[in-house]
Symmetry: D2
Subunit: 350 residues, 4 copies
């Protein structure tokens, strides 16, 4: 057991921030020592996260996000701020000697991708090369030594973990991967929007922001780095009336002769011994609800020989495996802890 | 105005049956004269459909489904029974001289497709050739003269109306169409199942019954008949936590140089003057919720030049445009009425 | 049939405003001639209400709410603005000769009630005495001659229609009525709030704003006017994860010897021949879902002899019988039309 | 720390059974040694509870519920069977020397209450006097020594914990307590019913089974035992579109001069130091969602001086504090452990 590490949570009043605080309380080696935010500075965390009442962190005050203060207070900083914030904030924290795990998209891509996919010029592109892409199941080696980890996006986590082994094994053509995503509303964050109001969401099923969703290049890059092959991905996300839950359904052209059994074995072999990946046997179907409240991802592979298609479906809880849980999994790797330390593997059902 | 026609509704205690009775009450030319069912014979309709209280039909008794009695009572029979029932029942009704619009899958395919996709040998395959496939926007000519109409499936309606014009115009390759479907639970009918219970459905997102869903060959056949081209379709449906609403997202390989503008124009041109099809301009996104309670379908086409993909998204209310409303639209064609007669074009929102 | 009347809808971009436009399109005697709002002036209605596409009114532009222009354009004005707006706006419209039906609370109470329950001094208290309280089933006589109608609140409609006949018949003590309300989120309007976001609402059940909810004095006043008896009401509303639907459960001390049968008969007798009230027989339970999309209210009365309590439960669709539908019902009375003209009596189920 | 106890879970394939297994896995002193059920005997637990995959108990086989085998396998038996089962089963288990915590209503009342409220003659009435009523916050002394604990109903837990201190303190009249309940569907269990299907539940708000709901006498008895005063309770439960969550809103006549501050202090004093009760300060409102996934109950008291009413609102997660969590809390008391051992105090939000 390592000594207890002091950690900071930035964006603690949001959904992912709240989950970070809740999960960190269960963790034996991390202790929340700093809470940062924008709108609620000077108030205690419990004012914005009343469900956390009773936790020690709930009575801590939200503080201004001054890099020096953050670094003084915490060895490790979880940043759960909206896209575009940590690109400005993280470098000074890193320079002051703390490590950073960024849950936004600010350190996931190459510099030239930011204007097109995120709408801004990256202000600290010198850090992009140093950032480890925190998909623990695929890139654990690089994460362990990093001072800056780019925690993957929820959709990207699902799609990359599903597709990378299949492409690597040559069971499908990486040339034209179409990923159809479905998500609940919590991925859009906690800010009040008409589009994610209850009135607009009940019985609503709708695509959004395609073909320009910012997880598109992240999926391409993730599969490429994991397989060494060039890939081309189209990603079409859809909003459905759920709070948590992401499902990605990836369509690839099957290699000749590929079978569902091979596909299943390929996925199972890729994640043997990994505590958070459940590969379903042929005939069973993934369900995002089963993963709710846990750090699990469910994977299912099917070859449709009739049409020559490989389908890989992945399901996870976007706030845990797709955000706060995966961030803690990365933190475990940073400190040499078993990656499952302090993380739930069982969903809260129903 | 034609004279009032007496109609029968079989399966009146189900979801689609209830919508048929409700919508027929608003129709100027049809009058419910017979209600048939299995479980509730001898009870008034209102016992199983209490929201219909006050309608004349609500006080009518549910009757045994004796073909001769049905045909004696009604000139036109809407059959909203589960798959596999009307294949046995409809022929005798037709022989007795009434017309039949079947909302199940019993008359949509060729005989040799039934064992594989529906799990039964068709008992009345001689009627399959005579049945008109009731996708009004594409096959109105054939429907007008038919005595038997196979009302399309909800997913098939969405996918075919979206893909057929695009394939016909040569904007995409018909060789490998992948259709990703999302649906609320009402498409599974009213019978109590654990899988569609509230407990199992809230926050659940999950694929089901793929790649063997029975709408797969129906989509292939529909696009083929509409375009004259051979097509290959993989269909992967997903259940999401909604009651009504179907969205299909179809992925096709784009023809060289195809653009979103061309795609939009192609869809708009195909349905000019058709009252129930709304083609969205580039940049707008379909939403199943907007169609809820109406007979509308929303269509949206996007070309992703980067990956060479055509995406066609369609949204509708599965109980209306995907079932009861489309059946009445077909009935209008059968009787020479304007196809929009008695049908709602405005959704009930929010 | 009276001649077609030109009507205005103020607040047309909100939920109740959208329902007004949708329902007015089905009405044989009213034609939308003016659309007013605050945030969307100069844009067509369809931009904020895309589900209304295809209706003539959908292409009309939203206009500034200038009283003279409104009165010039419309004989009758439906005001679906937030509380506090029509108190300033309606007088000038009335002075200019048009009639007004106000869906907010601005003309429902006496002047001295406004500071305490609504938080403002009423700026046009001279109009309060002239306003007819538009609960059609109880006060039709006064409504018919009014130039200003205060359309009742959703909770108040349910509670008053349930309790008034029981108090009038002496079956319960009017001295201490406790009304427990449950509502979906659409009653809070369309503005984006964190409290009515999907994330905050799924699986949330919670009381709000009691014992100071502004429908409290409205219920007291309504029952008093209908019965001539002094009443005392406590009202506790709760938010539940629904879009539409209001249920009020009223608890009263039973008169000695009162029975469920007497209670049911009393309710049935009070609303004999009224098209929108359904009184359930003993043993059946109301359900807000059955009224969804209709102007119906369901009532159920139970005497619990063991504890000496009368329970009256009422259910309705807050956007229709609790807002837009009831407003049109009042408009029918104003123009001497049958009160059910153009209004749906059948819910959209499921 | 006591030695690890072997426990049995009967009804392990249901919702409460699944929560028991999940929570017991987190408990340091209990180990699941036997799983019993009716429909799934011979299959592993994971077949009916796939979200538990990975837990040791998930691979255990469901077994026939033979009392001798159960008692041989387990020192403590949690019975999460439907009402009416454990009355037959528990006595033999108790005779064989194991302790039983029954989550159904079979041992909560006196013998003469069963025919009227549960519809059966109690087959083992000699055990009723020996059963401790397991509302830990009020009756911990009696529970510690019991061999049979009747775990309270979800509604009863909420209503009794809210009302008992208020009645005991003389702040309200115990003569006519009206309890209005709201619940999600999981309280009805996992069996597929049309009434709790997603189609019937979305946007449904409806009362049920009143005034005869079986928690009525349980609330009366609980408040009486805790206060020594005769009380009279009417209970009206309502179903709302949620999975988890119970809110009870109790209406009592206020004692002269009682204030909200006194009420709040009274509740706070009653539960000082109890880990699972959160009493809200005046002005804050309870929310069932905040308790979801935790063993917490939120309480809020308001005096409405205008109408002379005390309102006590309580919110909890019906599957945890209202079932599985409270059962483990009782088990902790049985074994002399701190009552919070192994139980979550933080909800999973959103």
């Amino acid at each position: 057991m390592v000594a207890t590490q002091r950690v900071a949570v930035l964006g603690a009043s949001g959904y992912a921030g709240g989950e970070l605080v809740r999960l960190l309380h269960e963790h034996p080696s991390f202790e929340v020592a700093f809470l940062g935010g924008k709108g609620s500075v000077g108030r205690s965390l419990v004012a914005s996260q009343p469900h956390l009442a009773g936790l020690p962190a709930a009575e801590m005050l939200m503080q201004d996000m001054e890099p020096a203060s953050i670094a003084a207070a915490a060895d490790l900083v979880f940043s759960a701020l909206p896209n575009g914030s940590s690109a400005h904030l993280a470098p000074a924290i890193l320079d002051a000697g703390s490590r950073v795990i960024d849950l936004a998209g600010d350190f996931r891509l190459d510099a030239d991708a930011y204007p097109a996919w995120y709408g801004f010029e990256h202000p600290a592109s010198q850090w992009l090369g140093a950032a480890a892409y925190g998909l623990s199941e695929l890139f654990a080696d690089r994460i362990a030594d990093a001072s800056l980890v780019a925690n993957p996006g929820c959709f990207a986590t699902a799609a990359i973990l599903g597709c990378a082994p299949v492409v690597a094994a040559g069971l499908a053509d990486p040339g034209a991967i179409r990923v159809d995503g479905k998500t609940g509303v919590s991925g859009a964050g906690r800010a009040a929007l008409e589009s994610t109001s209850f009135g607009a969401t009940e019985d609503s099923i709708r695509p959004y922001r395609f073909p320009n969703h910012q997880h598109t290049p992240e999926i391409e890059q993730g599969v490429m780095r994991a397989t060494g092959q060039a890939v081309s991905v189209l990603f079409v996300p859809h909003l459905v009336p759920a709070v948590r839950g992401v499902v990605t359904t990836a369509y690839l052209s099957a290699a000749t002769g590929a079978t569902t059994e091979q596909l299943t074995e390929c996925l199972a072999a890729a994640y043997t011994g990994r505590p958070f990946v459940r590969v379903l046997p042929p005939g069973e179907m993934v369900d995002a609800k089963r993963t709710r409240g846990s750090n699990m991802i469910e994977l299912q592979g099917v070859v449709d020989a009739r049409t020559g298609t490989v389908v890989v479906v992945a399901a996870l809880d976007n706030l845990i495996k797709g955000a706060a849980g995966q961030a803690i999994q990365n933190a475990n790797l940073l400190y040499g802890l078993p990656e499952e330390t302090g993380l739930p593997t069982t969903g809260v059902y129903p």
